[in-house]
């Protein structure tokens, strides 16, 4: 976004210096000065239209600033400036040339108010003006805007832009925008039919939106063609919708997997009903918050790395707390599940309240690094970056954990203690230490899950509450004591949930899933992948 903005500004600067002659500039200044006297949003809107009507690219600086809420009036002389907020004053820039014009305190300036309608007006206006931009992303944005707001007057500028366009993908978008404008013009029917075919080929929701309004206003062959195009797009979209639901399910599954995977160790492998598991996740999220706070105040350049830095720290914090809980409480309660449940519940309350008194009860802001913001399209499927990274992360954690359990001496000891504690002890394994470290590992993994979950959920003392039931559900459903069971369990619950949701709604969908799990557990009490062997029977 920032880069985009900076590029836009440099470009504006170039255009402004190249094309605006002295006389035209004086006219623009006269119009811009009127902003100071506009009484309400509609008057401001009228001035925006007047500025665009000049067709001079030099107006872009002031318009862009207006839309971003950065256009100010200086109280002393009613001059209009582009402002940039500094730490305690506002730096001023000339609205046309962009030259620095000193600074002023916020009290001496009045910000020109904008609302959504005004922002739309500006965006539409900038659409036409930025068609000739050198930056393809700006041209794509312009084409997109013009597609959404078709206007017969756009055809001319679009024709010129298409003729000069060298990038094929941008050209296609420009042609679609032109087609959209043709549909609202009084061009002959043949042109309109061709335009509908072109838009129909685009095949996304915006195309449906446009064609629906065309269908409502047209008659005869155009109306029929529009109806047919809408039907064909909708049938393709229905296919994409199904794909989308599956993807959402996978994404929910990855969140469930992350939340449950630590529990798969503490509950699944060790048999400890750990109600404080969710709080370990919360501790991880708060560690991320603290890391980001430190980065914000001391090393702002490192912000994109904050999550990477937070990962080991969150693991250590949660593992340490887990270790203390195991040594302090749980080791006295092995083999007494009910009491463990109550004790860990108490621990979870203590942890929540401790966090609440240290950080306060309100949500804390954990920012998304730039590589985790926004989305990209696969066909008609919008994939958000944060969900994709969380999926990758969940699978990586799973892989590493599997490796530790199956391929390292420590994992071997863990499994030995689980399978037959007394025999393991006879072989010289220090079972109490293995217990403690296993619990710490499970807690630490919950901590790093917290780092990921801080990106999509609230960072508040209640964070853990929302995940504890789901985590137990996943582990029990997948089969206690089996990591693969947790993986399959998480993804199948996620997908079933998300496939049901569009039809049943979120509330009913969740209920249906719970009922299904209850029925399933009746049939297979040990879950999907039941452990076999002596340990189970013992």
């Amino acid at each position: 976004m920032k880069i985009f903005h900076a590029m836009g500004l440099t470009l504006l600067f170039l255009l402004a210096t190249l094309s605006s002659s002295g006389a035209a500039e004086a006219d623009l200044r006269a119009i811009i000065a009127k902003f100071a006297t506009a009484a309400d949003f509609s008057e401001t809107g009228a001035i925006v239209l007047e500025l665009t009507a000049t067709g001079d690219p030099a107006v872009e600086r002031s318009l862009a600033a207006l839309a971003d809420g950065n256009l100010y009036i200086r109280a002393a002389d009613s001059m209009v400036f582009v402002g940039k907020e500094g730490s305690d004053s506002i730096q001023l820039f000339d609205p046309i040339s962009g030259e620095a014009a000193g600074e002023a305190s916020a009290d001496d300036l009045t910000q020109i108010g904008v609302n959504n309608t005004l922002r739309r007006t500006v965006r539409d206006a900038l659409g036409t003006l930025t068609l000739g931009s050198k930056d393809p992303t700006v041209r794509i944005a312009a084409a997109d805007t013009m597609f959404k707001t078709p206007d017969a007057a756009n055809i001319g500028p679009l024709d010129a832009a298409i003729a000069g366009e060298s990038v094929a993908s941008v050209k296609a978008l420009l042609e679609q925008a032109r087609a959209a404008s043709i549909l609202v013009s009084d061009k002959p029917e043949a042109d309109k039919l061709a335009a509908i075919a072109l838009i129909g080929a685009r095949g996304d929701r915006n195309a449906v939106s446009l064609l629906t309004s065309v269908e409502a206003n047209a008659s005869g062959a155009v109306k029929e063609a529009a109806t047919a195009a809408i039907a064909s797009i909708n049938s393709t979209l229905a296919f994409w919708d199904a794909g989308q639901n599956i993807w959402y399910g996978i994404s929910l599954g990855s969140v469930l997997l992350l939340a449950a995977i630590g529990l798969a160790i503490t509950f699944g492998v060790m048999g400890v009903i750990n109600m404080a598991h969710g709080e370990m996740v919360m501790l991880g999220a708060y560690t991320t918050f603290v890391v980001q706070q430190v980065i914000r105040t001391s090393y702002p350049g490192l912000f994109d790395w904050s999550l990477v830095i937070a990962l080991p720290l969150a693991f250590l914090v949660a593992a340490l707390v887990g270790l203390v809980i195991e040594r302090g409480v749980i080791r006295f309660l092995y083999g007494r599940p009910l009491e463990t449940l109550l004790a860990t519940w108490g621990v979870s309350l203590i942890l929540q309240q401790a966090v609440r008194s240290i950080f306060g009860p309100t949500n804390q802001e954990v920012g998304n690094p730039s590589w985790m913001s926004g989305s990209f399209n696969v066909g008609q499927l919008a994939v958000t970056w944060n969900r994709l990274w969380i999926l990758v992360f969940a699978l990586t954690v799973f892989g590493v954990l599997l490796y530790v359990m199956k391929r390292t001496p420590w994992g071997l000891q863990m499994r030995a203690v689980t399978a037959n504690r007394r025999m393991a002890a006879s072989m010289g394994i220090r079972t109490p230490w293995v217990d403690a470290l296993t619990f710490a590992l499970g807690s630490g993994i919950a901590g790093i899950a917290g780092v990921a979950l801080s990106q999509i959920d609230n960072v508040s003392p209640n964070l853990g509450r929302g995940y504890i039931i789901d985590s137990f559900m996943v582990v029990v459903f997948g089969g206690v004591g089996n990591l693969w069971g947790t993986l399959v369990g998480a993804f199948s619950l996620g997908i079933v949930n998300k496939v049901l949701e569009p039809y049943a709604g979120a509330v009913l969908g969740k209920i249906v899933v719970l009922v299904l799990i209850i029925l399933f557990i009746q049939k297979r009490p040990r879950g999907l992948f039941a452990l076999k062997g002596r340990a189970v029977e013992a």
């Binding site: 959504n116 409502a216 969140v255 949500n363 802001e365 958000t384 609230n458 960072v459 508040s460 209640n462």
Partner: protein
């Protein structure tokens, strides 16, 4: 077995002690004080919103004491923690009234907590000041509603969206958390929209559970609903914690306020504090107060708040203003009645008028609701709201919605001789039932 049991008891008492320590223990002070009960959750899911109100009340009481107290006595706050647990609200309310003998109670946030304490207040005849916007369809003798009724928030918000300034919205998504406030509000809004000629297929209603965090399906459904060639807006009654993931998903899926604005009734400065608001600029909220409102009263209130809470970043919000109004009204009514006896204060309350923080006056009406201005604000990059529309005058709280068939004939007037909260003007009898 016994040994382990004592361990558990220890664990539990430890957590109880921890929770107890965090509550600011009321100063067991001099004999002759007037006690004021504060019934807000300090732990559990609602702590995020309610703790702030507890602090605001403590500040208001401290200020009143600095001014010399009330009727020559000092005020004393009695704080209890109902822990976001609805039945516990009733227990704690009983404790406040019977054991601590408070003169009035300021508290509750969710409608279900209010409904849970209603019988206690009418049985023990005490006063509750309820500071949060709610669904209406209620008017109790012992409750003063200082938050907005639907006609002071929801209806003007929808009117704004339908206006030219608001984007002439034609298609509506009513998105809410699944409990009484969103369901009743959406029922009223649906009836209202239909009365304005919006066809049923242009209204989509959807509910999600409390604390919902995976909004992918809902947001893409909104996107889909919004692509029908008509200007679409979302009216959100999503509550509390679920808002942050909702807005994050909106931002990530690229829904911009210029295309599909979201008008929220439960998102204030406090909720935005946990969010990066840059992708949300332009989304809307309807309240009766914004921290950004530029009046001398509000500037003083914010400065006092920052000083009291010792943190310059803490925000103020609409329910805090409601407590500010409610508390000042109570003080004035007690002075007028010359006693803190709830019966006399309830009668003295009607007609009491105090300044609000947005440069006007709030007056207590005979239906126990107050007059308020309605402000529509757009979210700014700094986490504050910029007022884009304000009702020209004050709006009177209408407890029984005119748009619901069950309640349109009901009125409330707690003055003698009517003294009825649900008088049916058609049948001429007291005791009508609304929707709920």
């Amino acid at each position: 077995m016994r040994g382990s049991f004592s361990t558990i008891t220890k664990m539990f008492s430890a957590s109880v002690v921890a929770a107890g320590l965090l509550m600011s223990a009321p100063a067991r002070a001099a004999e002759d004080t007037i006690k004021v009960g504060i019934l807000h959750s300090l732990s559990g899911t609602m702590a995020i919103s309610e703790t702030t109100l507890k602090d605001a009340m403590l500040m208001l009481i401290e200020q009143q004491n600095a001014k010399g107290g009330l009727l020559g006595k000092k005020l004393e706050a009695v704080v209890v923690d109902p822990a976001s647990n609805w039945p516990l609200f009733a227990e704690k309310a009983r404790e406040l009234i019977s054991k601590d003998k408070v003169a009035a109670v300021f508290g509750c946030w969710t409608s279900v907590s209010r409904k849970s304490v209603l019988p206690v207040f009418s049985e023990l005849d005490n006063i509750l000041f309820y500071p949060v916007q709610y669904e209406g369809e209620e008017s109790e003798r012992n409750v003063f509603y200082t938050g907005a009724a639907p006609n002071q928030q929801a209806i003007p918000a929808v009117d704004y969206l339908m206006s030219k300034d608001g984007g002439s919205v034609k298609r509506w998504v009513l998105e809410g958390t699944d409990y009484v406030y969103p369901r009743t509000t959406n029922k009223i809004l649906e009836a209202y929209l239909k009365s304005k000629g919006v066809p049923a297929e242009d209204i989509m209603t959807n509910y999600t559970p409390f604390g919902f965090s995976d909004w992918q399906t809902e947001v893409s459904a909104i996107k889909k609903f919004g692509s029908a060639g008509k200007k679409t807006a979302v009216v959100s009654t999503v509550n509390g914690d679920a808002n942050v993931p909702f807005y994050k998903e909106l931002g990530n899926q690229g829904i911009k306020a210029e295309d599909i604005p979201v008008m929220a009734f439960s998102v204030g400065e406090e909720e935005l504090a946990g969010l990066d608001t840059k992708p949300l600029v332009g989304h809307l909220a309807a309240w009766n107060y914004f921290e950004s409102v530029n009046t001398p009263e509000n500037k003083k209130f914010i400065a006092d708040w920052h000083k009291f809470i010792k943190n310059n970043k803490r925000t103020t919000n609409d329910p805090m203003e409601a407590h500010y109004i409610g508390f000042n009204m109570w003080v004035k009514a007690v002075e007028k009645a010359g006693t803190t006896d709830p019966d006399k204060v309830i009668d003295a309350m009607i007609g009491v008028s105090v300044p609000n923080l947005t440069g006007g006056y709030a007056t207590m009406m005979p239906n126990h609701h107050i007059t308020k201005p309605v402000l529509i604000g757009e979210i700014q990059a700094n986490g504050q709201f910029q007022t884009v529309s304000k009702t020209p005058g004050l709006v009177m709280g209408d407890e029984w919605s005119d748009y619901l068939p069950d309640s349109k004939d009901l009125i409330s007037d707690w003055r003698a001789p009517l003294s009825c909260g649900n008088f049916n003007v058609k049948t001429g009898k007291c005791g009508g039932k609304g929707t709920n």
